[in-house]
Amino acid sequence: MNRWRRSVGELQARRQQVTECEQALAALSKVTACFQQMASSLGSNTDGSGLREELADIRAMAHRIYTGLHKRLITLLTEMEQRQEDREQVERLWVLFLSSLETFQKDLQKTSSLQELFPLTQRRDRSTLIKTGYSGGSEVAARAATVQTPWVSGEEERCPDLQKQISRMDSLLQEMLQTVNVPVWTVEATQEAWLEVGKEEHHDDETLEDLMQVEVISQDSTTTGCCHHLNCRLGCLLCLVN
């Protein structure tokens, strides 16, 4: 069909779909990041049934997003003709979606084995949780809860339990790699390297390094350096002052 013959409405609808997919990808990214942050406290002293429920909620949200996004991207990629700029953008979204799913699947696998390693079925299991210094709190979960799918929800299935979700994701990834022929290397990054340096606003002016520096000084100011010699400021291996 000639481009000129397409109705303006179709073009607009398509463009809207593409932006919807981009928003969905951003949302998926947000959700998976929150998931990862919370999964890192599995097995620690803040672990509990509350944390695991929150993780399940986030998982379900992610499931909704990525199943919808998968459907939409597939339709976008299969229905098209050779329109250059659109095709590139959709392929880019596809590749980013693929990597997002792979990372999320790894996190799910880690979560699954951690939950097996630290079962919370009995009271005394709580004593096996590693004391890592966390004090817990569900701020990250709250952040994840603010994410919404950019389309009207309603047509998805219920989220499966963890194992099933992992295996379904496996088959989803396989299917994705086989149905649409999008070579990964053709996508180029839109961002230059080092662009994100210092981009985020810093509410506090301290970085981790500064904090650590403070910590060293406040603990014990006499034992900088490897040995207790007054002039020693070197790391242990190079110390010749002895």
Binding site: C34, A39, F118, G133, A142, G198, Q219
Partner: protein, 477 residues
Amino acid sequence: MTIRSNRDHAQHYRPRMTCLKKVEALVVEMQDSKSGVTATEQKLNVTTIPHVMTGQDILAWIANKMKMDAEEAQALGTMLVAYGYIYPLQDHKKLILKPDGSFFRFQTPYFWPVQKWQAEDIDYAIYLAKRNMRKKGTLEVYEQARYNEFHKWLNPKWDFIVMQATEQYRANKQRQKADRVVFDCQERAYWIVQRPPPRAHSALDCMDRLVDPNDETRTYDHYRRTTIYLQQAMARSRVKSTVSLGALVKYINTYKNHDPFLAPCTPSNPWLSEDDTYWELNLPTVEVPTKMRVERWSFSLMDLFNDPRGRKDFKLFLKKEFSGENMAFWEAAEDMVWGSAASMADQSQTIFKTFLIPGAPRWINIDGRTMGLTVKGLEHPHRYVLDAAQTHVFLLMKKDTFFRYLKSPVYKDMQKRAIVPPLHNYSDAQVEQNARNRRPGTDPILIWQQLETERKAADLAGKPVDISTIKNKIDRK
């Protein structure tokens, strides 16, 4: 297709899963509030972070629990830190357990070193991007180099990396300050372990892995092959260690004076004294060999054959005895083994005509069965078709001719003539003078050419001694 060149059946990788599981059990016990290491709090500016331990407490607990002395406990503690189960708060790059008041904390299980979840480059790239976001210039030189590499190699996924890093950073910022510090410390410790700075010793180093240790797909074929291998291993004949060690001791005692590391080279080691007399005296084409060399020939027939000078001497002896056909056959078989594939057919024909058919000019006396096998094999000649006959002939020579050679006047004469070069003891100044006066070494090509001409001459000279002509001579007499 991967070429697997080792035969140790997946023992090549270092399966640390079992070791790590035990370590994990130990760590779980360690952090128990009642019976574990005592934990205190760490004070930062205004916040306190709980669950911090001092190095000496950890050490004392390990020594007490595992009933070891301080040194072993130190080693075990350092192992825990090096694997990443505990991380130091001060001096985070040096992964050892300091037995003093420095602080350590447990690593969250999400960041434990488990072989199933390899630390992927994408995660590392996300981590580096996150570090970048915090403040400018926090990456070390090697990290910057890796970052640039990732931007090149992971370019298609770069947008995802930056997006994910941003989101993770923002999610982390939602936390309370103390938790944020803890998480940042944990992540940093994890990546120090998984991607150590250059020239740092890493506990996770392992040799090349040919088989993925977590590969769960054990097919029927794999088990069948393993079973066959194990059955063959069981059926192998065994030697008692006393016997094998005795053989080893005997070998060492025989050869220890000839080992260039254990005994000094006479006259002097050319690499040390810059004087190449040693090499001159031990050339393959030398007329009078050294005493050590001659002594070495008496150790075994293989030693004799491996030395070209020794072979020459042996052939001289055989010529006197008129029993050179065994040696000639052995050499012909060696030529076939090492020869070119094109000449295989011709060589096999000549050997057959010269040595194997009954009534041949140099007929070798091997038993019927071997002869039959060899003749049959010669219909389709390949490199090793004469292997059985060659071994048989070698054994004949070893058991009979060799000992006669050692007792013969040829050998005894050689022993008398052999020279014992005096030991040079060069001083440093003389060594330098030698270095200055050093001649260029003999070109190996020239040596090879010499050997070839000599070999041809020897072939002509040692041509088959036709029994018929000698008989004629004797008859005439």
